[in-house]
Amino acid sequence: MESEELENKARKIRIDVIRSLAEAGSGHLGGSLGLADIFTALYFFLLKHDPKNPVWPDRDRLILSIGHVAPVYYASLAHAGYFPVEELLTLRKLGSRLQGHPGRDHGLPGIELSAGSLGQGLSVAVGMALAGKIDQKNYLVCSVHGDGELQEGSIWEAAMSASHHKLDNLIAIVDRNKVQIDGPTSDVMEIEPLADKWKSFGWQVFQCNGNSTPDFISTFQEARKTFGKPSVIIAKTQMGKGILEIEGDYRWHGKAPSKEEAKKFIALLDRQGFSQEN
C-alpha cells in the first residue's frame, strides 16, 4: 500500500472508531484516534498476517497490552478483513464479540490476547517471543503499550527478562502521547528519561513520530533488523489525532463522543478525505 493509501485507510479507521464509540456510548476515543496511524501501518503494511487464517502459526503477533484502545484494534481488524466492518457497531453491547476490552472467549477472529489490566501484555509478548525462539520460527511479536502504562512495575520485570533472553524477535511500541486519565504524565507520575530507562534495561531504542505512517514504517523496519536484543519504539503521538479540537486533550482519554459530536467529527474527517482524494 502506498503512503497516500495508508493515510486514507487511517482516516477510514478513525471514522469507524468514532462511529463505534458513539454507538456504544462509552469507551476510549483519544488513544484510539492517536494510534490509528500506527495500527494502519502495522495491519496494512508491516505485519505478516492472514485474515483468512487468523491462527496461521507463522504469523506475526500483535499483543495489545492497553486493552482500552480496543476500538482502533477492532476497526483495523475489520478493515483488514477479519470480520465485517458493520459488526463494529456492536461494540460494548450485550452478546457482542467486541468486548469493552478484548476478550478471546467471545470468539472475535484476530484477537491474540484478552487484555485490559495494564502492565501485563509485555510479559505475554515475552512468552510468545520465547516460544518463537524455542521453535526456531521467524515470526515477530509486537506489543503496544501506553506511556502511562509504563508506571506499572510489571512492565519493567518483563523488560528485564526480554533482554536477558535476547529476544530480538520482539518489538514494543510505546504510544507516547504524554497524557493519561488524571492529566499530563509528567504531573501524574514522571516516566522520563524514558529512552534511557529502556536502554539501561538492555533494549535497542528507537524514536519516531507515531502519527506519520512513513516515519513509523521506516523506524519499524529498522527495529526489525536489531540483533541480539529486543527493540522499543517510542512513538510520539497526539491523543485525539485527526480531530483538531480534541488533539492533545487528556479529557478525551476515557470518553466516547455524543451522536452530535460524532457527526461533526466524521464530517471533518470526510472533508480531509475529499481534499486527500482531489
Partner: protein
C-alpha cells in the same frame, strides 16, 4: 491399605512428576523464579536445560510469560512459594491466565504454617481461597508426595487449562500406593465409617486417618475422604457422605474462611445441610516455630480433628432430638 512408608516432602513429588512429564512431552517447559531447588524444579533443569528458563524474582512477569508460551502451544510449569505464586500474582493469573483460559500450570510450594521458622510472611494460608474463586482454574491439593507426583502429571494429561497445585516443604507421611488412581475432580474415600465424615486435604488427610483410628478405640466409626481436587469439587461424593454419615469435619492447612471447608459447606448448604466443623487457621496469621509446634498451637493435629468429630456427632444427635 494405607501405611506409613516414609517421611517425604510433597514438593519432591512435584519435581518427580515434572521430570516424568518432561521425558514424555516435548512441549512441557519449566520457568524458574530463583528458588528452583526449593521447589524441586532443579531436577528438570538438570535433565532438560533447553526447556528450563530462568526469570528471577519477578513472579508477576513469569505468570504473563507462561500465558504467552501457552498461547504458543507450550505447557509451562511455574513454581515458587505459594504466597508469591498465588497471591502476589493474582491479577496476572486472573486476566492473562484464567480469562485467556490457557494451559499454564502453577505450583504453589511451601504452603501452610508447616513451613515453620520462616514465619507468617512465607506461610501461604489464603491460596486455596483466592485460586478457587477464579473462573477456569482447577485447584489440586494432593495428600502426600506420591499423590503430588500423580497430581502434577494429571495437571498436564487431564486438564487443558489453568491448574494450581498446592504442596509443602516439610517431610510429611508418604502413605498412598504409587499405582493408585488419580482422577481430577474425583475425591477418594480412604476409610469407611458411618458416624461422621472427615473431609481432608493435603497432609491433613494423614492426620484424619490417625484421628479415625483413635476414634475407633472409642467405638466411633469415621469415614475419611481425601479431597485432592478442591475445584472442580466432587459434589456427588460429598452429598453422599452427608446423607450417609450426617455430619462433616473438614481439615486443611489453610484459612477456614474461603478455603476447602468453605467449598464443602457451599455444596452441602445447597444440597444436603448437615452439621459441619472446620479445622484450619481461624482468621489469623501464623508465626515462627517448629512445624509440629505450630500444628499443635493452631489446632490442626489428629487430636484436634478427633475432638471436632466428637463435637459434630453430638451436634448431629442434638439436631435430631430437636426435630
Amino acid at each position: 491399605m494405607f501405611e506409613l512408608k516414609e517421611m517425604k516432602p510433597t514438593r519432591f513429588g512435584f519435581g518427580e512428576g515434572l521430570c516424568g512429564l518432561g521425558r514424555q512431552y516435548e512441549n512441557v517447559l519449566a520457568l524458574g523464579a530463583d528458588i528452583t531447588s526449593s521447589v524441586s524444579m532443579d531436577f528438570f533443569k538438570k535433565e532438560f536445560p533447553d526447556r528450563f528458563f530462568s526469570f528471577g524474582i519477578a513472579e508477576q512477569n513469569i505468570v504473563g510469560v507462561a500465558a504467552g508460551l501457552a498461547l504458543s502451544g507450550k505447557v509451562p510449569f511455574m513454581s515458587t512459594y505459594g504466597v508469591f505464586a498465588a497471591l502476589r500474582t493474582t491479577d496476572q493469573i486472573r486476566v492473562s491466565v484464567c480469562y485467556n483460559n490457557v494451559n499454564v500450570k502453577i505450583g504453589g510450594a511451601h504452603v501452610g504454617i508447616s513451613v515453620g521458622p520462616d514465619g507468617a510472611t512465607h506461610q501461604a494460608l489464603e491460596d486455596i481461597a483466592v485460586m478457587r474463586v477464579l473462573p477456569n482454574m482447577t485447584v489440586l491439593s494432593p495428600c502426600d508426595a506420591t499423590q503430588t507426583r500423580l497430581a502434577t502429571i494429571a495437571a498436564y494429561e487431564q486438564v487443558d487449562g489453568p491448574v494450581y497445585i498446592r504442596f509443602g516443604r516439610e517431610a510429611v507421611p508418604n502413605f498412598t500406593p504409587p499405582d493408585m488412581d488419580f482422577r481430577v475432580g474425583k475425591a477418594q474415600v480412604f476409610r469407611e465409617g458411618g458416624d461422621c465424615t472427615i473431609v481432608a486435604t493435603g497432609h491433613l488427610t494423614w492426620e484424619a486417618l490417625k484421628a479415625a483410628e483413635q476414634l475407633q478405640q472409642e467405638g466411633i466409626s469415621v469415614r475419611v475422604v481425601n479431597l485432592h481436587t478442591i475445584k472442580p469439587i466432587d459434589e456427588a461424593l460429598l452429598i453422599a457422605c452427608a446423607r450417609e454419615t450426617g455430619a462433616i469435619v473438614t481439615a486443611e492447612e489453610h484459612q477456614i474462611f474461603g478455603g476447602m471447608g468453605s467449598a464443602v459447606a457451599e455444596v452441602l448448604a445447597k444440597n444436603y445441610p448437615v452439621p459441619i466443623e472446620f479445622i484450619g487457621m481461624d482468621d489469623s496469621f501464623g508465626e515462627s516455630g517448629q512445624p509440629t509446634e505450630l500444628m499443635e498451637k493452631y489446632k490442626m493435629t489428629s487430636t484436634h480433628i478427633a475432638m471436632a468429630c466428637r463435637k459434630v456427632i453430638k451436634r448431629k444427635s442434638d439436631f435430631k432430638l430437636k426435630i
